[in-house]
């Protein structure tokens, strides 16, 4: 049984609105071949498990990992798929290695959002009996949450826009993403309302891309790299399905996932002990809500914290220095990209978006509407 698990390699494709030149297996292979090349590992000799995250309807077939068995090394070998956010690939890869069953796992997430209509795909995430016929999707559901959150804590549209401005400016340092630029508050507030209070610029744009990570037991990791990034803690938790069952201005599932991960990582004071956060800002307001769920501040306090520059690129605790999901990262890939960005920062390999010395980083991913399922990964250099 391995005592510790490390990330030994990270690779990402460029994320763009549409990649018409590759199918999803070819897209996945771009990331997989890069991570194998950078680690010098081979599928046949080194990788004994693979975990992928994608979405059947976006891929266009059920059990859609059958479309990537060849490129992930799944042919006549072990391979599992989660129809969930990519952070959960890291969660289950970690558990597999800690159990002693596996030594070296390839974690993959891939999605081509350009292949179909996100709102119709996401409408099928709502239960067919009581909710789906209303025509709900992730954007209208998020708008109900944003309105509730903002009205409960008296948060203004200007404060939400600060998240957009920050993340899109951070994204100018990130060569992998496609939605970036320096915007003013007026420009952000001029963006058309899609579903009040959510504007076009508040929504992570459709993107195609893939991320691959190799994870290994301590013994294996130290043979592969002199810069292992250790998985210090993991946590996951589900909230209720129905929107009316939840208090949408709170995120109990994230609080629970974070508590599990912090306990394992022996983090008592997250705000002081964490050097960097990469989180799933699928909608801009979520950055604030998830910061509260991660225990970085109290309920309703993240807006002020953001406006004070605490989470800025040069702030005390940089949040999404990569530009986050608003910069254009595909759904499902989202959380694995958060883990990848956090790992690159710990290795000091984040290029122009390197925030300085990062010893402890937190990555957060979520699946379902309004963050129903939450996954937290704590990464560290030691």
């Amino acid at each position: 049984m391995s005592e510790r698990v490390a990330i030994v390699g990270v690779a990402q494709t460029v994320f763009s609105p549409k990649r018409p030149d590759v199918n999803y297996a070819e897209l996945a292979y771009e990331a997989i071949s890069l991570v194998l090349e950078s680690t010098g590992l081979s599928v046949e000799a080194d990788i004994d498990n693979a975990v992928s995250c994608s979405h059947d309807i976006w891929d266009g077939q059920t059990i859609s990992n059958i479309g990537i068995t060849d490129v992930i090394g799944g042919h006549l070998r072990n391979e599992e798929k989660l129809a969930m956010d990519g952070s959960t690939a890291v969660y289950y890869a970690t558990i597999g290695i800690l159990s002693g069953e596996f030594d070296c796992t390839l974690a993959l997430a891939h999605t081509k959002m350009s292949q179909t209509n996100r709102n119709i795909v996401n409408n099928t995430a709502f239960d067919p009996i009581y909710s789906r016929l209303l025509g709900l999707d992730f954007t209208s559901a998020a708008a109900l949450q944003a309105q509730r959150f903002m009205s409960r804590y008296n948060i203004s549209e200007k404060q939400i826009a600060e998240v957009v401005i920050k993340n899109l400016a951070n994204a100018t340092r990130n060569p992998w993403v496609h939605n970036k630029g320096f915007y003013t508050l007026d420009q952000a507030l001029d963006s058309p309302v899609i579903s009040s209070p959510i504007r076009k610029m508040d929504i992570a744009p459709d993107s195609d891309g893939a991320v691959a990570i190799v994870m290994a037991s301590e013994k294996k990791a130290l043979k592969v790299t002199d810069k292992p990034v250790w998985i210090k803690g993991v946590g996951a938790c589900y909230d209720a399905h129905y929107l009316g069952d939840r208090d949408l201005s709170e995120c109990y599932a994230l609080r629970s996932a974070a508590e599990q991960a912090y306990r394992m990582a022996e983090i008592d004071h997250p705000r002081d002990e964490i050097d960097l956060v990469e989180l799933g800002d699928e909608f801009s307001y979520q950055e604030l809500l998830w910061l509260e769920g991660l225990g970085i501040c109290g309920s309703g306090e993240a807006a002020d914290l953001t406006c004070r520059g605490f989470t800025s690129f040069d702030g005390a605790l940089p949040v999404n220095p990569s530009g986050g999901l608003l910069a254009g990262v595909p759904t499902n890939v989202a959380g694995l990209n958060r883990v990848a960005e956090a790992a690159l920062q710990i290795r000091g390999e984040a290029g122009d978006r390197q925030v300085g010395d990062v010893r402890i980083a937190v990555a957060q991913g979520h699946s379902g509407f309004c963050g129903q399922h939450q996954c937290v990964i704590v990464l560290g250099r030691e």
């Binding site: 018409p20 709102n119 009996i129 909710s131 025509g135 954007t139 309105q147």
Partner: protein, 156 residues
Amino acid sequence: MNPEHDYGTFESDQRIVAHSRYFAGLMGSYFFVRLRDEQKIVGARCEKCNKVFWPPRSTCGRCFSVLSLENLTEIGPLGTLETFTIVKYREPVHPRKAPFVYGIIKLDGADTSMVHFVDGVDFQKLAPGMRLRPVFANKRNGNILDIDHFEPLDSY
């Protein structure tokens, strides 16, 4: 391969169509028949938790008690708006044309809330706490759209 010919990037243009009949379950069947035939709304009470859940369900997710038909209790019809959004975009899955309002509405006597349409309201006057009443569809088919929408109790 003919070097003169453009083989381009080819997309296979398709549509997934499936006619589905999803069973509403023990509690759901009762809920929809009462809604369709009597224009009444029911929830399920968990005695142990002292909570009334909408939609009615056969298991309490909090204490795992098994709930059955005798746990069903009439709720509403009046309710209170908790949050809302004005939807400005159009999708074929929307049963009405934008702009329209979704609200999360807590019916009187229930501890969990229902998402539905809020019509007949000045968008500027939408606010949490607004009292609403359901308007039932004239032609009811046994689905959630048998409640056509909610509207403000007071005239706005």
